[in-house]
Amino acid sequence: MWLTVFLVRRVAATLRYVAMSVLIVDDHPSFRATARVLLESEGFDVVGEAEDGSSALEAVAALHPQIVLLDVQLPDLDGFEVAARLAELNGAAPAVILTSSRDRADFGTLVEESGARGFVPKAELSGAALLSLLN
């Protein structure tokens, strides 16, 4: 595992020379904190956090992250809605990775239809998982 992380980090550094910027959107502070530590430790640049859909849209507009790690269940707009709106930002649209503590199968075809790059279960979150979805 660590080897994979190591390789990813090397490849990223080699190819882009800069770490990829990430916005974490989740209403649970504990998850946001853990995800930030995890992703930063794997070389991602966590540029910001948002606790609901609307503040997520604002953060994207302000921070222009390359990746948005977007929780499906949010207090106001749900993750699919936020993903759809982000997809409308032609050219400036970040890569959206949906995440949830629920199983992907619980959402049927919603993930594909949302315009997101993919879905990663919260318990399986890792930099490698994000990169594999991006590629």
Partner: protein, 706 residues
Amino acid sequence: MRLLRTALWPVALLAGLGAFALILTSEHEQTPLMTGVLTLLVGWSFAISGLVAWSRRPANFFGALMVAAGLAWFVRAVVAADNAFAFTLGQILQYLVFGILVHLLLAYPRGALESRLARVLVVAAYLEVTIVQLVYLLFERPRAPGCSGCPPNQILLSKNPAVADGILFASRMGGIAIAALVAWIYTRRWRDATPAARRVLGPVLATGLLATALTTIWLVASSVDEDAGRYAFWATMTGLALVPLAFLAGLLRSRLALANVGQLVVSLGQTARPGELRDAIAQALGDPSVKLAYWLPESESWVRIDGRRLPSLASPDGRNVATIVERNGERVAAIVHDAFLHEDPELLDAVVAAAGLALENEQRLAALTQSEARLRAIIDALPDLMFRVSRDGTYLAVKAERTGDLVVPPDQLIGRNVRDILPREIAGPLLNCIEEALEQGAARTVEYEYELELEGFPRFFEARIVPGGEHEVVMLVRDFTERHNSELERQQLQAELRERLEELQASRARMVEAGDNERRRLERNLHDGAQQRLVSLSLSLRLAHAKLADPEAARTILDGASQELAAALEELRELARGIHPAVLTDRGLGPALETLVGRTPLPVEVETNLEERLPEQIEAAAYYVVSESLANVAKYANASSARVSISRENGAAIVEVADDGIGGADPTLGSGLRGLVDRVEALAGRLEVESVPGRGTQIRAEIPCE
């Protein structure tokens, strides 16, 4: 036969004259004039009466017998002949007339001998006056004693005074016996005769009785003294002459009665009161037992004048019989009368003919009386009130079983107007209906329903109005209060039922909704709480694993993970308790309430008065009542303390939660209280909330547990 009767008139006349001449010219007749006149009188009276009776009733043998008696009487005069042979023949036949008289008296009035005794007596009488007389003459002296001038006996066989006297004595005794028996029969007949029979038979019975008595006296007297015998014989002859006269008198009386009948019936006319006609007919027939029966073709039955049915016309003993009266070929009535009146058919026919019209009138009256009685019975059988009301609304007649069904008693109703009796709002439409009914004519019925307060209760009536004449109606009023009330009750019951059903449906919907909400809440709690913490824990562990090279960083991460885990466990416990308190299942309501109170952020006093555990469902309901109530107290009541009491009274669990807070709770608003109401009512219990603003809230649940 008619020719014979016609011929007999001159025969009787000539025979009488001949006999009279023979007696007058007789040399040995001691009292020729007296005997001659009497012979003539008696003979003619029998012969003439007999011929009259015979021609009136040719089938009756009685008339012929009378004629025979008359002729035999003249034959007897031959004894006055001076010629010895004629004299002897006269002697043989001189008593034949008595045989015929016995026959005649016993055959009266029908001309036939109706009893065995009568037949025996007649045969005996005929034997005595013929054979015994003949035998007597065989032994008689040549000349009868006391008759010196009499011609000699031509058939004398042997003069034997002893035998002759013996025969004579026996013959007289026999004659006395026969006369006495005839007299006895006549007495009995008189005694047994009905008044009508006495009227018809009376004269003949009386004179017959007299004649037989005189005959007896004559027979006794002549055996004692010759002169006495002669006088007694004259008396007997006179008595016998009365019999046909009595018969004629009876006929005359019938004729007179006929005249009376016509007069009586005419005088009665059509104005006869019931019973008067019967009395008139009874008087005309001389039969007080007369009854009248009227034929009703419709019911094919005989009825009396009052319309009551008569089971049978004739009496079972046959003493009373019925003569049917017909008019124009139609049966009208029957006169039930004494059977003896058939002996007087002319009278009966005359009465029937004369009374026909009057009887026909009474027949109609009887039919009317009967149909009126039927109508009355129908009216009486109807439970409805009935009124006759004139066009202007005046009550003409009323029929009510209960005075309470009327606004005023019947005697105060008649003559008054509907407007004065009934409220205006009823009287008005009612008068319109009356007018409508009268305009529409007889075939139509107008119906009208109204409500009236009687005896302090509202009553509902429906009136049916039928024209009963040109200016009046018959109004049938039926009380349908009972039907109305039961319909009302039914509707109320139905509405109540519908309301309860709707309530039940709403309650079920709320319970389903509450269940769904609860599940949603649980899912959310699990997802947002324990699951998120476990996700973080998972990530932290992976991170710690990655930081193994940096022990300090790894420890920090693991410390955080440990706290996450503790928090996740606590949330799971809380959640489980929310689903169902384990302590309630394991330890019962008391300990469960203590736990609940322990978590409530204000002092709560608990009082339980239960000797044993309540049924599981009721325990749960009681727990949630307390739990929800205390939660509400903590959230909204702003109370300083609360009190919980659980008890069991009269087969029900009573749960009470009271606080000293601000009050003003509304069970119809909050979903929590509403859910409690549903939960309690699902167990057939009742939840009451009293929450006056400023006076705290009292919640009381009563749940039946037997």
